[in-house]
């Protein structure tokens, strides 16, 4: 895993925590818009939106990180990021976007050992700017390569509808 390097970061919040995404990965920031539900996907996939003619998936970062769901309000934002591998776009739901911050290389520390083990593989460093602690995320790692469709592959979709035997 490579440590996050210095540069400009988009800072957003989820609850009380502050997170940073490298500005290079961020395509745009938009207000909340109508999301079309896509059934049979993971709960953190809220559905799809129409971004100027492009249909892109929406991932709720709160749910992805196992935080409580929160009703979207006027501060809720969609941060559209681009995947490195295939240039695909995905919109991340965050509580609010605060600023773009220049974080120096020297201000970034490696995440603690335990965090880099498995599910926190998307944490690339901890930015310590003055008295703030900013968790620097790797967008590709957050979205992951896993299939967003949480399919009950082993159950034939029709299987559930068999007449139950008493």
């Amino acid at each position: 895993m490579t440590k996050a390097s210095g540069g400009k970061y988009l800072i957003f919040t989820l609850g009380k925590e502050e997170f940073g995404l490298s500005i290079q990965k961020v395509k745009e920031i938009i207000g909340m818009m109508t999301i079309t539900r896509v059934p049979k996907t993971s709960e953190y996939i809220k559905g799809v939106i129409n971004l100027r003619g492009k249909i892109i998936p929406v991932m709720d970062l709160r749910l992805k990180f196992g935080l409580d769901e929160r009703t979207y309000d006027e501060r809720t934002c969609l941060v559209v990021v681009e995947m490195t591998d295939n240039a695909k776009l995905i919109a991340l739901v965050v509580d609010s976007v605060s600023e773009v911050l220049n974080i120096q290389n020297a201000e970034i520390e490696l995440p603690p050992e335990y965090a880099s083990q498995d599910d926190a593989g998307f944490l690339r460093g901890i930015g310590k700017v003055k008295d703030r602690v900013i968790l620097l995320l790797d967008a590709d790692g957050v979205v992951g390569n896993q299939d967003l469709t949480y399919l009950r592959r082993n159950i034939d979709l029709g299987g559930e509808f068999h007449v139950q035997q008493a």
């Binding site: 109508t34 059934p39 129409n50 998936p57 469709t149 979709l157």
Partner: protein, 605 residues
């Protein structure tokens, strides 16, 4: 080859696409020539094609291609001059030349060093031998028109003047060109000579000219067209949004609305023509299949005549592109399995030569390609036995004829005893079915013992714009492709048929439709019960309960990102007039989900 790698990729690209066109023309002409050996026009076409390739190869400095096309050209010229008829050995030779050029081209694209294999050198020698055999034609330039003749014809020189000039030219040891001498001797002005020599060029050009009618086409990079179609899609979406907004604000007699309506009409036409740019004729595809069939027949030593028709049929490039492989497998299948060998055919009272007909046509928004043969037909019993033997089906249950026939599309299924170069591994038909399904099409098979077999491929004309019906389920809009809708009906309590307390079917008069459990599929808490939309595909029908049916409109199909590919219930998405995304229901899958539960049949999958 170092100079090759320094070549501009664009030049190579141009070379490839132009050469490719000529090569496919060569194939077609060859096949036609075989059937009609006295046709001198075909010989001329072939000659021109090779000549052009030779010229093109000069640009990319590809000597081997130049050599081969030159030799082939010479061979063709011999026939052209002598008026001799081309037999199938010569056609093979010409086709081989085309194949070799294709092969070299492939290496050229990959920027590999051109490897001249022994088979290529052999072929070259073979070509030269033929030319020697036919009398060396290489030295006489084809129908060369001399400058003197032109000037004579134009009255710029008299016959005596020309003769004396020619004499002087000979005396000077051919150090001067005729035109130069004419000027030096004061018989003609330089302008006149230039004029005549242009004329001479033009006349010579006539001989090599390609059909001008065909060159009124323009080569455009496919990405540009794809881009245009994409933008068109966005424009349509935006327009739908604007229409919806405008309807709220203006009355229909408002000047703005009138203009908007006009705008809509123009956009529609614009969209049609943008779409038509991507429509390409199936001709090259069918020709290729014909060629493959011919070659397969040669390998298997079978006598087969392959006819193609409906080449003018068009389909979206995205569709045609993916048809090449399935068609190849089907044709090989027809030649390999369908057509019997000559003895068998004679015994069963059929003409010695087998017939294969590849036919394309359009009907109701779909393109059909039918490949039929007059061979032995698919042996229903043999498949059944093999399937039981392989434990694919259960000998206790009974299966319909269609179900048995459908088995031949299973991967690895074959009735052939041995694997040969053409078939027997049971891969081909599986590929066909998978590819066609991926395109949203289907494969049908009709067969009759000893009468022949027909495979019918049904495909959507394009994958971009379809007519969809917008329905609402639980406050969400979904799209059902209008072509798949049989009817929309109101349902009453008495229409439901329940099994163990669950609504399973809908009764409408004499019809009984199985109900698609849309609430479970879409993870809803309640199931709509107002209306049903009866959907139908491949003769199977089922009912989707919906809350509301809104409108019917042309929609732009967008594929869902890879992440959503396996949803099962949706095949794509579109953007509606309100700017919202709406999922397009996958009719085929839904029917399967709903339909199969009512009668527990199938192959134990």
């Amino acid at each position: 080859m170092n100079e090759q790698s320094s070549l501009d990729p664009e030049i190579i690209q141009d070379f490839m696409s132009e050469t490719g066109e000529h090569l496919s023309r060569i194939e077609l002409d060859c096949l036609e020539l075989e059937n009609d050996p006295s046709n001198s026009e075909l010989l001329n076409n072939l000659f021109r094609s090779f000549h052009t390739i030779k010229g093109l190869a000069g640009f990319v400095q590809e000597n081997s291609i130049q050599d081969i096309s030159h030799k082939t050209e010479t061979l063709l010229d011999c026939f052209r001059k002598s008026g001799g008829h081309v037999n199938s050995t010569v056609v093979d030779l010409i086709l081989k030349s085309a194949d070799i050029i294709k092969y070299i081209c492939k290496q050229l694209v990959k920027r590999e060093n051109i490897s001249i294999t022994t088979s290529i050198t052999e072929h070259m020698t073979n070509l030269s031998d033929w030319v020697t055999l036919l009398g060396n034609c290489e030295k006489t330039e084809p129908n060369r028109i001399r400058l003197g003749e032109v000037m004579l014809r134009e009255g710029k020189l008299s016959e005596e003047e020309l003769l004396s000039l020619l004499k002087k030219q000979k005396e000077s040891g051919k150090n001067f060109l005729l035109g130069q001498l004419a000027v030096l001797e004061g018989k003609a002005t330089p302008q006149q000579v230039v004029e005549s020599s242009r004329k001479q060029e033009a006349m010579r050009g006539d001989l090599f000219k390609t059909d001008n009618a065909e060159s009124s086409t323009m080569r455009v990079a496919s990405e540009k067209v794809d881009n245009l179609v994409d933008m068109m899609g966005e424009l349509l979406i935006l327009q739908a949004v604007m229409e919806q907004e405008a309807k709220k604000r203006f009355t229909s007699d408002d000047i703005f609305m009138q203009n908007l309506v006009r705008n809509v009409r123009i956009t529609k036409r614009l969209q049609d023509s943008a779409m038509s740019l991507r429509m390409i004729s199936l001709k090259p595809l069918l020709q290729r299949a014909q060629r493959i069939g011919r070659d397969t027949a040669k390998v298997l030593e079978k006598q087969v005549n392959i006819v193609i028709s409906g080449e003018e049929t068009e389909a979206d490039r995205n569709v045609t592109e993916k048809l090449a492989e399935p068609l190849m497998h089907l044709v090989r299948n027809c030649v390999g399995h369908g057509i019997e060998n000559t003895q068998t055919r004679v015994v069963s009272g059929k003409p010695e030569t087998g017939q294969i007909h590849i036919r394309a046509f359009t009907r109701r928004g779909h393109v059909y390609i039918e490949i039929s043969d007059d061979g032995q037909g698919v042996d229903h019993d043999k498949i059944y036995k093999k399937a039981v033997e392989k434990k694919i089906i259960d000998s206790v249950k009974s299966y319909s004829r269609e179900e048995i026939l459908d088995l031949i599309f299973l991967p690895g299924f074959t009735t052939a005893k041995e694997v040969d170069s053409v078939s027997g591994r049971g891969v081909g038909l599986d590929v066909v079915k998978t590819e066609i399904l991926k395109l949203g099409g289907k494969v049908e098979i009709k067969t009759e013992k000893n009468r022949g077999t027909a495979f019918i491929l049904k495909l959507p004309v394009n994958l971009v714009v379809i007519n969809g019906t917008v329905i609402v389920i639980d406050d969400n809009s979904y799209i059902i492709p209008t072509l798949s809708i049989r009817k929309i009906e109101k349902v009453y309590d008495s229409n439901w048929v329940t099994v163990n307390g669950q609504r399973r079917m809908v009764k409408q008069g004499k019809d009984l439709f199985s109900l698609i459990p849309i609430d479970k599929i879409l993870e809803l808490e309640t199931c709509p019960e107002n209306l049903i939309v009866v959907i139908e595909q491949d003769g199977k029908a089922a009912a989707i309960p919906v809350d509301e049916v809104k409108e019917r409109r042309d929609i732009v199909v967008k594929s869902l990102n890879g992440e959503f590919r396996d949803l099962g219930y949706a095949s794509g998405a579109t953007i509606l007039g309100d700017g919202r995304v709406s999922l397009i229901l996958d009719i085929e899958n839904l029917i399967r989900m709903g339909g199969e539960k009512s009668d527990d049949k199938g192959f134990g999958r």
